[in-house]
């Protein structure tokens, strides 16, 4: 398993065109970024959870992949509760740390929002093969192949560069400069990696060019990237969740438009 060939378990959601997953996730994120109330986030999160159950991911995999979210969201929430802008009744105070009704609801809203925005994104990447995503971006969204496949090829080099990094670290120790100046050494090592990456990249570019990449012959695609009812349905559901979340929040009077 590596960056570009992740092991992706078979599940209904893994079979959906990545472009549809991407569009659904983007729609949801935009809707949730428009307000900072807790109701819209809570509604979106509960509806997403239902969608995830249908997605057929194993709970273990889901827990593993979304672990960073479960750590980040409560942390951000608690920080806001303790140090966020105070308003309303004071519930608890110790020195300059205070919890008020305002900071409490803001903290909850932020924690829920991180989950509601992060979950679809993480699920998107946990169930998507980068090659399939590139195929979708090129064939469905018609993004330029030079950009999409160039990025994909560069991603493949990441694995090679991780190995280079290890070798660079060994070499620095062997050359007697591994004892002092950790930060400066890191900088130097990063620069060396950059030089090596540029070299590997230009060889790769030559190899790709020699295979006719970037010529003006219209490109064909060896792998189909089907986009049908299932995909449209997912986008509609994504838009629906966004709409319901916003409507409920507006109806209950808690909608706080960030740009207002």
């Amino acid at each position: 398993m590596s960056v570009v060939t992740p092991t992706i378990a078979a599940s209904p959601i893994a079979r959906i065109n990545p472009v549809a997953k991407l569009l659904a996730a983007v729609l949801l994120s935009i809707a949730l970024l428009l307000s900072i109330d807790w109701i819209s986030a809570a509604v979106a999160l509960s509806l997403e959870s239902i969608l995830l159950l249908w997605g057929g991911l194993s709970l273990r995999l889901l827990a593993l992949r979304t672990a960073p979210l479960w750590i980040a969201a409560p942390l951000a929430g608690i920080t806001t509760v303790l140090y966020g802008e105070d308003s309303g009744a004071v519930l608890w105070r110790l020195g300059f740390v205070s919890i008020t009704e305002g900071s409490l609801s803001l903290g909850v809203a932020i924690a829920l929002r991180i989950l509601a925005i992060g979950l679809p994104g993480i699920v998107l990447f946990a169930t998507t093969d980068p090659t399939d995503l590139a195929d979708g971006l090129g064939q469905v969204l018609r993004l330029p192949a030079r950009f999409v496949l160039g990025g994909l090829a560069a991603l493949r080099l990441v694995g090679v560069l991780i190995d280079d990094w290890r070798q660079l670290a060994f070499a620095r120790r062997a050359r007697g400069v591994g004892d002092r100046g950790r930060i400066r050494r890191f900088g130097g090592q990063a620069f060396a990696l950059l030089v090596i990456a540029v070299r590997r990249g230009s060889t790769l570019a030559t190899a790709m060019e020699a295979k006719g990449f970037g010529s003006d012959i219209p490109r064909s695609w060896a792998r189909p990237s089907p986009f049908g009812t299932r995909e449209v349905l997912l986008i509609v559901v994504g838009a629906g969740i966004a709409a319901v979340a916003i409507s409920v929040s507006v109806a209950l009077g808690s909608w706080e438009f960030v740009l207002a």
Binding site: S2, V4, T5, P130, T131, L149, L152, A153, R156, L157, G159, V160, D164, Q167, L168, F170, A171, R172, R173, A174, R175, G176, V177, G178, D179, G188, A192, V195, I196, R199, R200, T203, L204, T206, A207, M208, E209, A210, K211, G212, F213, G214, S215, D216, I217, P218, R219, S220, W221, A222, R223, P224
Partner: protein, 516 residues
């Protein structure tokens, strides 16, 4: 731009070979005063198989890039004369040309084997069904019997080169260009790739041009040898036997590996040096990934000693853990089990475990030369590069200058003192990487594949230098695939055998120690 016909039949349909015509062709890289190639005139008929030889710096790779149409435009350099493929410029013939480069890691494009082979066809607009037919036959032609969704990152070097070849073949090229395709491979990989090329060409009328330092690999596959003159033009051109017997000596002196003209070997009499004093020894050493610590005791422990004045060669197949063992002996990697113990003669008070030494303490005790010299370069000039070790030791400036000047002349690097290490040629980089280690005079020298991809001249210099160091009482440990190198230098051979677990996961290695 011409669109190559997307033929709809199978692989067996012969593709017309490309005719190459060069007339007084020259290329000068932007910013250089001297042209890389000058005054080349020759014709190559469709279907000819040509081995291109020349000293390093004679412009072989430049010519090949020119033929492949990847030299770039006016910003990259300046062209005079003409170089035509079937009467057209090479850039207009893309898709008629298949190119395989030297570095296996830098030319895989996509993550799955089948997709990578299909990549060229896609760029040429070949219809989907036809693409997959071609992918199947190209993989069969190079003998890669793997599922289409096999991850390309898990292939060996030889397999990656065959994958690159399959990608080129799937485009059904009329001209196949190979730029030192086997230079970075072990002997098994070299044979794999050579046989794959032979098989692919057997039923084909495609023209072949190949560059390689080691003539013996391709000699039986080519019917013509062209030797480039570093001063411009062509030195010799004709049937392999005639050219190699006429020019063999001159080529060998210029660094080409010509059968019948082996590089000189230093005279090493077994036991000529005083009976080895032990410097390093392993005690029930296990190598491998640390998370496999629990399974390590199941493996036979590695027991060996590294003695003054003796050379140890670490050999074995790819993936046997040779580099891991070398890094462990060099004090760069902690042992997975057991220990590497340094004798007081070597440790000089730094403690018995090399991996616990400070980076600075390693300098005078164990020096390491990495497989890829670029990994160990730290400075902007050759001179500054050589001064890094002595400076880290805190030597006075006069002493540093003395050592640096001595190494520059000893390794023929004086003219390059102000050059950036990254801009050197392969042989120069290797010499510099060895010199940087010698600058602090370590008692033990650990080298990872020091002769990989080197021309015969660099090989000869390197082996002579190591023999000298051994004579002076240093100890040499070298990971190598090179049988000539083992033959010339090694007193002890440690042959590693990989132990694989479930899913071919590397657990560790067992070692057989042979005294030569």
């Amino acid at each position: 731009m011409s669109v190559p016909s997307a033929a709809t039949s199978g692989f067996a349909t012969p593709v017309a070979g490309v005719r190459i015509r060069a007339r007084d062709w020259s290329w000068r890289h932007a910013g250089r005063s001297k042209p890389a190639v000058a005054g080349l005139s020759f014709d190559i008929e469709p279907g000819e198989r040509v081995l291109l030889l020349g000293a390093s710096g004679a412009g072989k790779s430049t010519l090949l890039s020119g033929l492949a149409g990847v030299l770039g435009g006016d910003e990259e350099g300046e062209q005079t004369g003409e170089l035509l493929l079937d009467g057209r410029l090479p850039v207009e013939s893309r898709g008629r040309i298949g190119l395989v480069l030297q570095d296996p890691d830098s030319q895989v494009v996509l993550a799955r084997v089948g997709d990578d082979v299909a990549f060229g066809c896609e760029n040429l607009g070949v219809p989907r069904d036809e693409t997959w037919r071609r992918v199947g036959s190209a993989l069969a032609a190079v003998g890669l019997d793997l599922p289409l969704d096999h991850p390309s990152s898990s292939l060996s070097g030889g397999q990656k080169q065959r994958l690159a070849l399959a990608g080129a073949l799937a485009m059904r090229p009329g001209l196949l260009l190979l730029d030192e395709p086997t230079a970075n491979l072990d002997p098994a990989g070299v044979t794999e790739v050579r046989d794959a090329v032979a098989r692919a060409l057997a039923g084909s009328t495609a023209t072949l041009v190949v560059i390689e330092h080691r003539v013996s690999v391709w000699r039986d596959l080519v019917d013509r040898v062209i030797v480039l003159d570093p001063d411009g033009g062509i030195l010799a051109d004709g049937a392999p036997d005639r050219v190699l017997s006429d020019e063999g000596e001159r080529l060998a002196a210029a660094g080409v590996w010509v059968p019948g003209f082996p590089p000189r070997r230093p005279l090493r009499l077994p036991g000529a040096t005083a009976p080895g004093l032990e410097l390093l020894r392993t005690a029930a050493l296990g190598i491998g990934r640390r998370k496999n610590r629990h399974s390590a005791p199941a493996l036979p422990p590695i027991e060996l000693s590294v003695d003054a004045g003796l050379a140890t060669a670490i050999t074995g197949v790819n993936g046997a853990g040779k580099s891991t063992l070398a890094l462990t002996l060099a004090g760069l990697l902690a042992p997975a089990a057991g220990a590497v113990e340094a004798n007081e003669r070597l440790s000089q008070g730094a403690g018995p475990h090399p991996h616990a030494w400070k980076s600075r303490q390693l300098l005078t005790r164990i020096g390491t030369v990495f497989q890829n010299p670029e990994h160990q370069f730290l400075a902007a000039t050759v001179r500054a590069e050589l001064a890094i070790g002595p400076r880290a030791l805190g030597l006075p400036q006069g002493e540093i200058d003395g050592r640096v000047d001595g190494l520059l002349s000893r390794l023929r690097l004086e003219k390059l003192a102000g050059a950036n290490p990254f801009t050197l040629s392969g042989g120069e980089k290797r010499r510099l990487s060895v010199a940087t280690v010698l600058a602090t005079a370590p008692r033990v020298l650990v080298l990872d594949e020091p002769t990989f991809g080197q021309d015969s001249r660099t090989w000869q210099e390197l082996v002579a230098l190591l023999a000298e160091l051994l004579e002076a009482g240093s100890s040499v440990v070298a990971v190598t695939h090179d049988a000539d190198f083992v033959e010339a230098l090694a007193d002890v051979e440690v042959r590693l055998e990989p132990r694989l677990g479930a899913g071919a996961a590397f657990l560790g290695a067992s070692a057989a120690v042979l005294v030569r």
